[in-house]
């Protein structure tokens, strides 16, 4: 151990780049397997877009776990609620949605997404206060409580909207694809990629460049110490939980547009997917969650193209492989 003088800068933690290289290597490896460059480009773009959407949904879950040690099994409910709220905005403005003008479309899309985020976030407030607050620090009860919350939320959605599938058409200007040579990339996927990247960068900036982020990261490391320094960590937790719920709502809107339909059972299907992502990434790690989401999407897209039968279990195989390599996920958060 070397002595450090007070003026020396703190030693930088080593950067762990192997997980970052993983999706890149996977993508490059697929070029010869897929054969045609144009389908490879299309598939890669599709995986990135899908990965970004999954990341938006999963980021809240992993953040909440990392900070509060709370695993929300009802996270999928926020996704479904977000999607349903968006249909409320879309239905009365159907004409504007179908208008072939990007500005008019976005004028409906943006308020719909914001409203969904607001409602999901508000619901997050209620869920945190009612379901999670009484059972802090008790994993078993947390799982049971939030699973109960998922059942109630799903059934309430059925009661309010009915059990049928609600169609959610893409705005006219976002349909179709950009054609570059013989490569076709769906317009909506480009938008999804941009939103996902923006969310990722925003989270990283807040966590690494602001005082709030400093407190959050400190809370992840050592909750008692942050409390002892006089910060009300409970409030911080609540804020993070609501942000995570709002992000899930946003993800729900994006996923509904991607699938062009809304159904309460989408929460079940997506819960499994985001759990796999969060496990692969390492519980509590945003960077890991980002890479995990892209990996899951890549395996789904490439796998679906190369061996369609395998696509059904590809997520599980990926998870097993990653956990064999790093048993606590790509980036293990130190304190757990």
């Amino acid at each position: 151990m070397t002595e450090l003088a007070a003026s020396d800068p703190l030693p930088k933690p080593k950067r762990d780049i192997a997980p970052i290289l993983l999706p890149i290597a996977l993508a490059l490896l697929m070029i010869p397997l897929i054969g045609s460059t144009s389908s490879w480009l299309t598939l890669t773009a599709a995986s990135l877009a899908m990965g970004m959407m999954i990341f938006i949904m999963a980021s809240g879950l992993t953040l909440v776990f990392g900070l509060m040690d709370v695993l929300n099994f009802g996270h999928g409910a926020f996704i479904a609620v977000g999607a349903y709220i968006a249909t409320l905005v879309f239905a009365p403005f159907a004409a504007s949605v179908q208008a072939d003008s990007l500005l008019v479309n976005l004028a409906v899309l943006a308020p719909a997404a914001l409203l969904s985020m607001a409602v999901s976030g508000a619901l997050g407030l209620v869920v945190e206060r009612v379901l999670i607050l009484p059972v802090y620090g008790q994993h078993l009860k947390q799982i049971l409580m939030t699973t109960g919350g998922l059942i109630v939320a799903e059934q309430t959605l059925y009661a309010l909207w009915g059990p049928q599938i609600i169609p959610m058409p893409l705005p006219a200007s976002l349909r179709g694809s950009f054609i570059l040579g013989d490569v076709a990339i769906a317009k909506y996927r480009v938008l999804a990629m941009f939103i996902g990247l923006a969310v990722f960068i925003a989270i990283q900036l807040v966590l690494n460049r602001t005082k709030l982020g400093l407190l959050i990261r400190a809370g992840v490391e050592n909750r008692e110490m942050v409390e002892a320094l006089g910060y009300r960590i409970r409030r911080l937790f609540l804020g993070v939980f609501m942000t995570g719920s709002a992000l899930a709502g946003l993800g729900g809107v994006m996923w509904a547009l991607y699938r062009e339909q809304v159904h309460a059972s989408m929460s079940d299907e997506l819960t499994v997917l985001i759990f796999v992502v969060v496990i692969i990434g390492g519980l509590g790690s945003i960077g890991g969650c980002f890479i995990g989401a892209i990996l899951v999407a890549m395996v789904a897209n490439y796998g679906g193209f190369l061996v369609p039968k395998l696509a059904l279990v590809s997520n599980i195989l990926l998870m097993v492989a990653i956990l064999m390599w790093r048993p606590r996920g790509l980036y293990a958060v130190t304190s757990r």
Partner: protein
């Protein structure tokens, strides 16, 4: 006492309730005429055993598994595929059991070795992922499982409804193959529950409870916790597969909706928590309450919903719609985790005091 492994209900009311339930189940073919009552009774038996096996995991080791329906489904499908493929004979039943039960145990072993080393939360998520993959797999391998339609099959001669063993004019009741099947289900379920009671009251069961209370300390005392947890996982899977066999035999059918779907998993969770975690007896109570509610609450809710819509109330008709019964049980579930985590059984045993599972970390 011997038969209960020295773990009696320990509450007069509870004993009374259990005796009433068991007597009512045993006498269902004679007390309550009609196919529906018999179906409900058989379902209660099957689910009591299934939920008891889940209680071994949730209540005694404190690990939440979402893959329990997978084992249940393996049992169901094994017997269904065997009887479908080999025809209605006893050899097929034996084949189904000999293939299905070890398969479930092996899969449980693999999952356990893979994921029980880490925290309970990891186990919950991994079992959820594996179970959903298995569900998709079962519906896709339609040449084997019949896909979404499932597999219907014929039972061996002796168990068919058409087989009359004792005709009606002897005692006033007809004993046919259907009733014989019911008693088979009843007896095997009872045996499995008693066996589970034996397991949890053995030294092995005590170690499981020690792990539940404080895994670190149990490990420090020299118990190989991963071994114990994996073993418990395999035992629970075996019993769940057994319950699946009974379920398929009773329904003469195995399909994704009756034996694999995620909603059954949620039902099991509801039953074990409402009945009382870590008691085994809770499984019987929970299954009885839940399945009675499932079958009879719905018609009650239908009446209430109609009344509400005739009174012109907003929202209420939707919330009271018979299909929304799970909403109310979900609320009951949350309330019971919150207010009486030891469930009905714990409530009856300790009065108001909550000394059940779940108070530990």
């Amino acid at each position: 006492m011997m038969i209960l492994s020295g773990d009696p209900p320990r509450s007069r009311v509870l004993t009374l309730v259990l005796v009433v339930i068991i007597l009512a189940l045993a006498a269902t073919p004679f007390l309550f005429p009609g196919a529906k009552a018999l179906n409900v009774a058989a379902k209660i038996c099957v689910f009591a055993a299934l939920v008891a096996s889940y209680d071994l995991l949730l209540g005694y080791t404190g690990s939440v598994s979402f893959a329990h329906t997978m084992f249940y489904g393996i049992g169901s499908y094994a017997i269904a595929i065997a009887l479908y493929g080999m025809g209605p004979n006893w050899a097929a039943v034996a084949t189904g059991i000999v293939v299905g039960l070890p398969l479930a145990a092996l899969l449980a072993l693999a999952i356990g070795l893979f994921s029980l080393r880490v925290a309970a939360i990891f186990f919950a998520m991994i079992t959820l992922a594996v179970a959903s993959a298995f569900q998709v797999l079962a519906s896709q391998l339609s040449w084997l499982t019949g896909g979404e339609d499932g597999r219907s099959f014929q039972l061996p001669e002796l168990l068919r409804p058409g087989t009359v063993l004792i005709s009606k004019n002897m005692f006033g009741f007809e004993i046919n193959g259907r009733i014989l099947t019911f008693y088979l289900v009843f007896a095997v379920s009872a045996m499995m529950i008693l066996a589970l009671l034996r397991v949890v009251n053995s030294p092995f069961g005590r170690v499981l409870q020690a792990i539940r209370e404080n895994r670190f300390r149990a490990e420090a005392l020299g118990f190989r916790t991963v071994f114990h947890l994996t073993y418990a996982n395999c035992l629970a899977a075996l019993v769940a597969a057994g319950a699946g066999v009974l379920n398929a035999l009773w329904l003469r059918y195995a399909g994704p909706d009756t034996s694999l779907s995620f909603s059954i998993m949620l039902d099991i969770l509801l039953m074990v928590v409402i009945g009382g975690m870590g008691t085994i007896y809770g499984a019987i109570i929970g299954a009885t309450i839940f399945i009675l509610a499932q079958n009879y609450l719905q018609s009650l809710m239908g009446v209430a919903s109609k009344a509400a819509s005739e009174a012109g109330l907003p929202l209420l008709p939707g919330l009271l719609h018979p299909d929304r019964w799970l909403l109310w049980l979900g609320l009951l579930f949350i309330a019971s985790v919150y207010f009486f985590p030891s469930g009905v059984v714990g409530r009856l045993r300790h009065g108001g005091g909550d000394k059940g599972v779940g108070t530990s970390h």
